[in-house]
Symmetry: C2
């Protein structure tokens, strides 16, 4: 379990997921745009990943130790690690090593980017 010592706000700024695509309702998606976008939505297409992301996004500290993510979602440690990797590769989450532990944090900008893709056309 994570030790609550020296808790400085851990919210590592991140490479930024470039705004890949215009809103769905503005332009018809090209094949490549669609592929990139789909990959990111697919990352949200799993209950466990959604719960993980939710846990990170609601964290008051801005980040959560991986060790504190296993029990809440009720899956094995390897499975949780696997899902965190997918979220990280989708740019929705960042990780930072702190000694033995790894702290994960949500990337608000990436979520916002996805959100804008669903924005209504005016």
């Amino acid at each position: 379990m994570s030790v609550p010592i020296s808790v400085s706000p851990v919210v590592p700024a991140q490479p930024q997921v470039a705004q890949c695509c215009a809103p769905l309702q503005t332009t018809t998606l090209g094949a490549q745009e669609a592929a990139e976008l789909a990959a990111r939505f697919a990352a949200l297409g799993d209950p466990v990943r959604l719960r993980l992301l939710s846990l990170l996004a609601t964290s008051t500290h801005g980040a959560v130790c991986a060790c504190d993510l296993v029990e809440p979602v009720g899956k094995s440690q390897p499975t949780v690690s696997h899902h965190l990797k997918i979220l990280r590769e989708a740019g929705l989450v960042t990780s930072e090593r702190r000694g033995t532990n790894v702290w994960y944090a949500a990337v608000p900008a990436a979520i916002e980017s996805l959100r804008q893709t669903l924005a209504a056309g005016s």
Copy 2:
């Protein structure tokens, strides 16, 4: 192909996808909430479906004949039909028979619902 005759705005109002879940960043998702949400995001997690939805959402008529959706995405007719079914079951799209053809339309409210799930927490 669809015949452009008697084009009255075809936008059948729909059962409404109830606002399933609070924003990710507000409350930590329960198992069931996460499952429902994930199912809807998963519907967006495929390039073909994303392009289909994009085609529908950008349609000036508000709806598109299924026959006009096959060629743009470059997949076989059964495959397109399959994806349209998934979008329909996710509540993102509606279908309406018009003679031999079936017209599909995006459901803005469902998309907006998903969008709000990604909303930042103030």
